[in-house]
Symmetry: C2
Subunit: 202 residues, 2 copies
């Protein structure tokens, strides 16, 4: 039977709408993520959207939560993807840098940037974002540790290097909002790799 319980349908609706909201955020930006755009992309009626998310603000704040989860599962996927055995240490560092760099061009990153940016001039959104990002940050750190592996993670300089890499990558990635070159060929990659290799050598 196709009969779904009421709560199931409700959960489906929310997921459908939230996915669409994140997609709108990425493709059209925060301003373009109107309730009409979201409902059109989700293929739901106005009533259905407004029933679950009474205001645009609630919708987009909820989208941030949803986004956070998406982000982490994706990050975990990346982690297992690199899990495939690489024995050489320098080689491993290089691959990790490339892999982490690539995550900055997944949808969640740009959606997050849209939200960060919008939050700057939207107190309510900012307040909703703050605790969420704090939790997300430690989760991301955990995933990063798994990507790097225990050997690298144990290095005394690892925390500093990891932090420098993450923040620098974010700073560079921002420029790709208007640059349309392929990110994989960014000259910074070689810079990060050499820095990581140098600072993390045992």
């Amino acid at each position: 039977m196709e009969t779904r319980s009421r709560s199931e349908r409700s959960a489906d609706s929310r997921a459908l709408i939230l996915d669409a909201a994140v997609a709108c955020l990425v493709s059209d930006g925060y301003a373009g993520a109107s309730t009409l755009a979201v409902q059109a992309r989700a293929g739901v009626s106005r009533g259905r959207l407004l029933h679950h998310f009474p205001s645009r603000e609630e919708l987009l704040v909820a989208a941030t939560s949803h986004l956070a989860e998406t982000m982490l599962t994706e990050a975990a996927d990346h982690a297992v993807a690199v899990g495939a055995g690489i024995t050489d240490e320098a080689e491993r560092v290089d691959r990790c840098v490339e892999l982490i760099w690539a995550t900055f061009f997944e949808p969640p990153f740009w959606a997050a940037m849209e939200l960060w940016n919008a939050a700057r001039t939207d107190e309510a959104l900012r307040a909703a974002l703050r605790p969420q990002e704090r939790r997300l940050r430690v989760a991301i750190r955990g995933v990063a540790d798994r990507i790097w592996g225990p050997q690298v993670t144990a290095h005394p300089r690892y925390p500093v290097v990891s932090e420098l890499l993450f923040t620098s990558m974010r700073g560079v990635a921002m420029a790709y909002a208007f640059e349309d070159r392929p990110p994989a060929t960014d000259p910074h990659v070689a810079l990060w790799q050499s820095m990581a290799r140098e600072l993390l050598e045992d």
Copy 2:
């Protein structure tokens, strides 16, 4: 006399409007920088605004040029501000890090982030931004060189360190879109300083 020539009045109008546009960009974001908001902040009539900038797009693209100039003169000011003699090298590095970090919380930075972000989903804006940012980047690099001074600039690792610092700072600064702690106390500052001191010691 208070009589202004026609071209003078025109230039005044443009400057007035562009300043207001940048201010709107910073305080209300790209989406909030409507032509009505700009004209209200500038204290000009609708006709006056639309006479000089026939469309919102042209206005905001022009604002980016204006912004770029503002950015550079401000950066130059900072450069001369630090010009005051600091003899000790390590001390000098620390102060430079703090000074550069502080520039990330001037209006031009946030206005630039608004534009970068908006450009991601706006092809016309992106195309207008690209060459401008390229020019701006080399200009900023020149100002940075003047801030660091010839001795540091001559260090073989300087280009790498400078690039890492700039990008990392930008990445960290983004988080202050929703964090409201004072940036000067950010723990990354100490990290940057120690890295710069270590990598730039002769």
